[in-house]
Each structure stands twice: as C-alpha cells, then as structure tokens.
C-alpha cells in the first residue's frame, strides 16, 4: 500500500494539537472554565502533547515514504509485483 498511514494520522493529531493549544492559550487563566479539570489548563498541556505526537508521526511517515520511493516495489508472497503510482 503506497499511502503511509502515519502521514494523515500525523497531520490530524498535529491539527487537533494546534487547535487545543491555541484555545488553551486564549483561555489561560479562566478559572471557571478549568474548574472541572482541577485548575489545570488541560487544553494547553494536552494540545502540546498531541502536537508533539502528531509531528513525530509526520516526520516518521515522511522518512518512510522517502525510503519507499528509493526501493524497488516489494514482491508480495504470491509473487505478484505491486507497482507504485
């Protein structure tokens, strides 16, 4: 399969991370909003974690994609050669 899953997955988590981080920054210090999460700015912190995860996935996916392009198509067990696009 020539779509490396880590790329869309990385993109999604990076975007979610950015949204949460920005929203967390904008609402930082809003005591009423963060009363349920025990006063912790859960949006900001978890947004940063998800962003880091997303970017790592993106980087790994990009690296994998590059390596895949260099290699000849991998033969599958029944001998059919899958050609890339």
């Amino acid at each position: 399969m020539n779509l490396d899953l880590r790329i869309p997955m990385g993109a999604m988590f990076t975007l979610v991370g950015v949204i949460l981080t920005v929203f967390g920054l904008a609402t930082n210090g809003n005591l009423r909003l963060y009363a349920p999460s025990l006063g912790i700015n859960a949006n900001l912190w978890w947004g940063l974690v998800l962003m880091a995860f997303g970017l790592t996935m993106l980087a790994l996916g990009r690296r994998g994609q590059k390596r895949l392009e260099k290699l000849p198509p991998e033969p599958v067990e029944n001998g059919n050669v899958r050609r890339g696009h």
């Binding site: 779509l3 988590f13 949460l20 967390g24 999460s37 859960a42 029944n78």
Partner: protein, 607 residues
C-alpha cells in the same frame, strides 16, 4: 446541560474529514477483490497489530470495561490478564501459521479446507448474522449514549430541530461515515481508520485517567476510597464469596481464561481478518503479539475510569448560607435524584413512572454502570478537550462497527455468495458484490438498532444467542489444527452439540438474584450460580466440553481426510518454515515470551 462550543465541534468535524479522506485516498488502490477484502495482504505488522485490538475496542470495551470496573473492581482486569493476553499469544504463535499459510480468505473458508462444506456453511451463516446484529447493537448503544449525555442537544436546539430526532441523527451519522469509508477503501480503509481510532481513544482517555487519579489522590487515594476487594485481581479469587464477581478460580480460569477468550481471539474473523491482511507469514504471526503489548496496559485506560467514578464522593444537594450586604442568601445546588441516589459519579437508574430510584432485590439502588466512563468525561473535561473525549467515544463505537461490517462483507461475498449463489463470476463482479454487501450489512444493522428500541430485551437476547454459538467454536479449531484425525462430520456435529449444551445449561441454571426467564432457568432450575458472570463462564465450559468430546467420538467413527489434503492445515503435517534468516530476538516466539513475562509481572503487582 452539556455546553459544547465551536472548538469541540471543530475537533469532531476534523476527525470526520480525515476518516473520509483516508477512504477517498485509498479508493484508487482498490483494483481487485483481494485489495478490497484482504487489504491486498500487504500491510505492515504494526498497523495490523493496532487494528487487531482496535477492532475489539468498540462500545463493549470502552463503556463496558468502565462499567465492569465500577461494578466488580480491578478483578475486571482478568479479561485482559488471563483472558485476552494468553489467547493473543496462542493465536499468534500456534494458530496463525495455519490461517495465513492456508491462503484461506476468511475463517469459514479455513473450515471448508480443513473440514468440509457443511461446517463452513454453518459457521459462515451464523457468523454473518452475528456480525450484522453486533454492529446494530453497537449503533443502538451509541445513539442511546448520545441521547443520555446530551451531546447533540445544543446543536439541535441551535438548528431548531426537534430533540426526538437525536437518536436517528446519531445512527445516520455513524452509518453514513462507516459506510462511506468501507465502500471506498474496503478492509484497508477499515484497518487504517481503526489505527487512527486507536490513537484517538488513547488521546481522549489518557488525560481523563490522569485527571481522575490526581483528583482522588493518586493510586493510594483510589485504594483508600474503595472497598479492599475492589483493588485486587487475584486476592479472594479462590472462592466465589470472597470476590466481587462471585466466581471461583476454576470457573474463572477455564471459562474466561480458556474457553471464552480463546474462542473470541483465536476464531473470530472480526479480529483475525486484520492479521490475515499483513504482508507475510512472520508479520501475520507478529500481529496478535504486537497487539498484546498495548492491550496489557489497556486496563489502566478503560477500567480505571470506572473505578475512579465509583470512588469519587457522590454529589449531594448542598445549601450554602451567606450574608451579602446584610441580606441572608441561600445558595442551593440541587442534585437530581439519579445522581444523589448513585454512588460516586455512577448514577442510579430511575423508574420513569414513579421518578424514584429502582432497587435491586437486596434493596440497594440499581446503578447505571454504563454511564461511569461517559460521566467521567463530562465531569473532568472543560470545553476543548471535551470535544476530543467525545470524538474518542464516537470513534470507539465506529471502529467496532467497521470491523463487523468488513468481516460481514468478506464472509458474505466469499463464503455465501461465491460459494452458494453465484460461482465463477469475474473478480470485478465479486468486488461490486462486496461493496453492495457493505450497504446491505449497514442497512440491516440500522434495522437491528431500531428493533432494539421497540423490544427491550433484544440486546440481552442477542448477546445470549451469540454466546451459545460462540462458546463451542474454539474446540473445533483446536482439534482441527492439532489433531489430524478430526473429521468434517465430527466438527459439524460437535458444533451443534456444543451450542445445544450451552442452551440446555442456560435453561437449567440461574444466577442467585434473578428470576427465571432471560437470565436462565427457563426449563427448570437445577443449580444456582452466585452471579451471572459465573453462569456465563460455566455455560462456555459446558459448550466447549460437549463439542470437544463429541468431535473426538464422531471422528473415530468416520473416515478421516487423506493426509495429503491436510498439509498446511494441521500442525503435525505442516513442515516447519526455515527461520534461520531471522535473528532470534526478531522471531515471533521471542516477542511472545517477552509479552507473557510482562503479563505475569502485571498480574503479580496487582494481585
């Protein structure tokens, strides 16, 4: 009232866009039926491994394990420790060589190769029916939950729609999305999205556990707020009276540890299909083992929220009296009766007629354990991350549905349509049939979900029927793969006998605090079990034993298949593949031993 803002909706929408986007991106790769039904047998092991557990990470897992954690405590982790993990190791190390090596395209097809046509037909029919009903149950549970925690109420209010439509809206939303991505990208799409859902569920539930633990005072605080028996897996397991589940060690070990979990993880095409989609034999064998690694730590993610929910203080109606500028102000925080009668964050079930809490036979309020985990989300998450948590919840329902739907379209197309309805069609034709089987499967699921509204007991009844059909399965596969003498007639009669034994056992026994009927005892009550869980486990043990014994007996009375036809299907007749080219620590066996050791350590730490 749940207040969701644009941030929550953006996150949810973003998820839907990516899920559908993956489907569209994969569409151009779908050239043959093998691409569609088997993901081209070309996926890396880690993707299949994560999809392997994610296919099971549906509603039963996320909501059910939280509920069970709240009800029975840490003993629920047995579903992992002696349930899933050993079974996953077994299927990877011992059974996958035959599933993958036989080149069977589905589990029923393997049964035809190993036994005969009628065994396959029996298994394919019952399996196809069960997958459709399971995905319908999943859909119903999701729509009910969306209603119960008022996710779409705000949206409906803003759009001026009648709130009665929320149930239909939830069902339509999940059906359309799951249908679209499977229709476009087949099993690959389902697997990719299951991996996405896997990470999303972690992203949504890990902060919940962290916040919950922090609130209750860490693990020690959780221990202090719960009865001692709640926090042990093994202590008290020797006798039924000394553990919350009411099961003694034999029923637990044999019923759950051997029959039920091996039956599920080793024979259910819902999970096996993801392993069979991987790119070669070594990967296929590693898939369940890779899956076992995160699976071991899932109790922390899905059971702990339930435990924390029951351990937190129950909200009470409070009156604060303050004086403001000389005037006395009474500030009353009113807590609705279902919350006040509950325990911790787990609400009581309210009788809709009297408005009072429903009581169990012993006079305790009946708790709605299924709301334990969702209520935790609502309790701890502020808007923003709440959108992420709710999206994770939706994702878990959809991954369970999607796995069922892809399993259904494969079994329907290969094992029913191609075998009995239309032989010898073109590959393109079968791929089209698979796509339309997806549509049909989802329509039938929707019908099941609506039937569940009108017939209260339909969910319990269906689950009961599944357990009758599934319980004996493992004996058939065990004998089929490891005993070359087992014959087709024997396998068929064994399966029937196993299911009959399960029905009879259920009809003759009853859990202690239940009335004869759906819970058992509808023939006569010969024996009473301390809990319904114990009854389930023993039903499985009886079904398995009946199948096992009858298959052996009938095998000796019937002619065996010639050994030449069983090469690659039975252990003793399959040549060991050479693994000299793989370093020892990269072999599946090494991974299996490592997983097993960690599982044992976890069991000792939380004994």
């Amino acid at each position: 009232m749940l207040n969701l803002t644009y941030v929550d909706w953006t996150i949810m929408l973003l998820y839907f866009v990516f899920v559908l986007g993956i489907g569209f991106a994969l569409k151009r790769h779908m050239k043959t039926s093998k691409d569609f039904f088997q993901a081209g047998r070309a996926l890396p092991a880690w993707i299949c491994g994560l999809a392997f557990i994610s296919a099971n990470l549906g509603a039963q897992e996320v909501i059910g394990m939280g509920a069970s954690g709240a009800k029975y405590g840490l003993e629920t982790a047995h579903f992992y420790g002696i349930g899933a993990i050993p079974a996953m190791i077994f299927v990877g190390v011992f059974m996958m060589p035959f599933y993958y090596g036989s080149k069977a395209r589905s589990v029923p097809e393997f049964l035809r190769m190993r036994f005969d046509e009628k065994t396959r037909a029996l298994n394919a029919c019952s399996f196809a029916v069960m997958t459709v009903f399971s995905s319908g149950i999943s859909m119903y549970a999701m729509a009910r939950l969306m209603q119960a925690i008022h996710v779409f109420d705000g949206l409906f209010h803003a759009l001026g729609w009648a709130p009665e439509g929320i149930f239909t809206f939830s069902i339509a939303l999940s059906a359309v999305i799951v249908l679209a991505y499977i229709f476009l990208g087949g099993l690959t799409s389902a697997i990719y999205n299951e991996v996405l859902q896997f990470f999303l569920i972690i992203a949504g539930f890990l902060p919940l556990v962290l916040l919950g633990l922090r609130n209750i005072g860490g693990y020690e605080g959780l221990k202090a707020s719960l009865p001692a028996a709640y926090m042990h897996m093994w202590k008290g397991a020797a006798h039924a009276n000394t553990n919350p589940m009411g099961i003694e060690i034999v029923g637990l070990g044999m019923g759950l540890g051997f029959v039920l979990s091996f039956g599920y993880w080793c024979t259910d095409f819902l999970v096996i299909q993801t392993a069979m989609a991987s790119k070669n034999m070594e990967s296929a064998r590693k898939v369940p083992l890779i899956a076992a690694v995160p699976k071991m730590f899932f109790p922390f993610l899905v059971i702990l929220p339930g435990l924390i929910a029951i351990g937190l203080p129950t909200p009470r109606t409070t009156t604060q009296i303050r004086t403001v500028n000389g005037a006395i102000v009474h500030e009353i925080q009113v807590v609705p009766p279902q919350v006040a009668e509950g325990r911790g964050l787990v609400p009581a079930k309210i009788n809709p007629v009297t408005g009072k809490a429903m009581l169990t036979a012993s006079g305790q309020p009946l708790l709605d354990y299924d709301l334990a985990t969702p209520n935790m989300l609502l309790h701890f998450f502020p808007t923003g991350i709440l959108g992420l948590g709710l999206t994770a919840l939706l994702a878990s329902f959809m991954s369970g549905m999607a796995g069922n739907v892809t399993a259904f379209n494969t079994v329907f197309t290969y094992d029913l349509y191609q075998s009995y309805i239309h032989k010898g069609g073109s590959d393109r034709h079968y791929m089209a049939v698979g796509r339309w089987a997806t549509v049909g499967g989802i329509l039938l699921s929707i019908a099941t979900a609506y039937a569940a509204i009108n017939f209260n007991n339909i969910m319990d009844t269906l689950q009961l029927v599944f357990s009758f059909v599934n319980a004996p399965l493992f004996a058939t596969f065990l004998l089929g793969m490891f005993w070359k003498r087992a014959t087709g007639h024997a396998a068929f009669s064994g399966l029937i006998a196993g299911t009959t034994a399960a029905i009879l056992h259920h009809g003759l026994t009853l859990p202690l605090d239940a009335h004869p009927g759906i819970h058992g005892g509808w023939i006569a009550v010969l024996h009473r079990y301390p809990s319904d869980m114990a009854q389930n486990f023993w039903t499985a043990i009886f079904a398995f034993s009946a199948n096992f014994i009858l298959t052996i007996v009938v095998s000796y009375c019937t002619a065996p298949k010639p050994e030449s036809e069983l090469v690659g299907l039975v252990h003793s007749l399959t040549p060991k593949p050479s693994r000299a080219h793989i370093v020892w620590w990269q072999r599946p066996e090494a991974l299996a031993v490592a997983v097993l050791l960690v599982a044992v350590v976890l069991n000792i730490v939380f004994y």
